[in-house]
């Protein structure tokens, strides 16, 4: 496993046009919030002007706790994703 620490992960939300909600479209890596907005515009709107973008660090999102209403939830805490921030993989696990 590499010693280098990558940039933090950001989740990206885009309002495609006026009148619509921001919708989650994916994620990216950026060194800070400003650069994350820039990268989000480049990657997820590909030069389309006039859309609104939100970015938020993935580790800042809190999710509802799983309860018996949705038994599919894994009992894995209150984070949205199994992102590496909260899910460490040992380096010696082959082929992960």
């Amino acid at each position: 496993m590499s010693a280098r620490a990558g940039w933090p992960l950001y989740e990206v939300f885009v309002r495609g046009k006026r009148g619509l909600n921001h919708v989650h479209v994916g994620s990216l890596h950026a060194p800070d919030d400003e650069m994350a907005v820039h990268a989000a515009r480049d990657v997820y709107t590909r030069r389309n002007e006039g859309v609104s973008i939100w970015v938020v660090r993935a580790d800042a999102i809190t999710a509802s706790s799983p309860d018996e209403k949705d038994p599919m939830f894994a009992p894995s805490g209150d984070k949205v994703y199994r992102h590496p921030t909260f899910y460490d993989i040992p380096a010696d696990v082959p082929h992960i």
């Binding site: 495609g16 990216l28 890596h29 650069m35 820039h38 990268a39 590909r46 002007e49």
Partner: protein, 300 residues
């Protein structure tokens, strides 16, 4: 093969929001392309080549970063910037061609080759009118970002004024271009801040980049005869008019980036704008033009 796409369009609303393709907006739709009264078409064409060649050559330099950038996010950013500049180059070269400024390119290119390609692919280096600033090699990521900062600061200042040009085509190209250039300058400035004020290594690389790029400012602000005539006619921008603004912007960014601002280099007569270039442009054009020149009768 249509069925595949149809199913997808239906599944995704068909808005085309995610597909970024070939559909470049043509800012010249509905624009009067008549040459303004009292303007020599040869001057107008020569000026379009200056601005067009700057864009084409810088786009080629930025494209050299594709598959070599520090992160995937930066691959995409380089691609966007290069695509914007390429779009500007195409319009400006086409405009030069439309007023009959084609140099020797028409003798070499077959009739089916459009003007923009005849000019891009079939002129020799001494017919190019770009500045040494854009022709210079990239160097490392720091030098590349410093050059992009300088080049986009100059170009944004010029295009901002050119929106009021008496030539409706130049005015339209400038109106579209300022939004693009503002973004390029912003992106480059953010990186210069981070590299200048990042680590010891990035600081020294950024400073070396500044020191390498700075000498190219020497002939950026001296006008050619063509620019002087066109500026007097309200068609072009005299580069001397943007000198203070450019230096102010650069000094502000570099200072915030904790970088030393070199002394202003003295003005010298225009070099690149009159076709005087170093070997790096010849080399760049060898790559850019090689294939097209190998097959002069081909259509692509």
């Amino acid at each position: 093969m249509e069925t595949v796409y149809d199913a997808l369009d239906a599944a995704h609303g068909g808005g085309g929001q995610w597909a970024f393709g070939t559909g470049f907006d043509d800012p010249l739709v509905g624009v009067d392309t008549t040459v303004p009264d009292g303007v020599d078409p040869a001057d107008l064409g020569a000026y379009c080549l200056m601005l067009g060649d700057d864009a084409l050559v810088l786009a080629q330099r930025l494209t050299e970063w594709i598959t070599a950038a520090p992160e995937l996010e930066e691959e995409v950013a380089f691609g966007n910037t290069a695509l914007d500049l390429l779009g500007q180059a195409r319009l400006l070269l086409a405009r030069a061609g439309s007023v009959g400024v084609l140099g020797s390119s028409r003798d070499r290119a077959s009739a089916t080759v459009p003007d923009e390609d005849a000019l891009a692919y079939f002129r020799d280096a001494d017919e190019f009118r770009c500045t040494g600033l854009v022709a210079a090699v990239n160097g490392d990521f720091a030098r590349t970002m410093v050059r992009l900062l300088v080049a986009s600061t100059v170009r944004l200042a010029v295009l901002t004024r050119l929106r009021g040009s008496r030539d409706p085509v130049l005015a339209a190209v400038a109106a579209k271009g300022v939004h693009e250039l503002a973004y390029h300058r912003d992106h480059a400035a953010r990186w210069v801040l981070r590299l200048g004020d990042g680590t010891a290594e990035s600081h020294s690389r950024a400073q070396a980049g500044v020191d390498a790029v700075w000498p190219h400012l020497t002939d950026l602000f001296t006008a050619t005869d063509v620019e002087q005539r066109l500026a007097a006619a309200g068609v072009a921008v005299d580069p001397a008019d943007v000198r203070e603004e450019v230096h102010d912007v650069l000094a502000t960014v570099l200072t915030r980036a904790t970088l030393r601002v070199p002394d202003r280099p003295g003005d010298v007569p225009p070099r690149g704008r009159t076709g005087v270039h170093g070997p790096e442009l010849t080399e760049l054009l060898g790559t850019l033009q090689g294939l097209a020149r190998e097959h002069p009768a081909a259509t692509w």
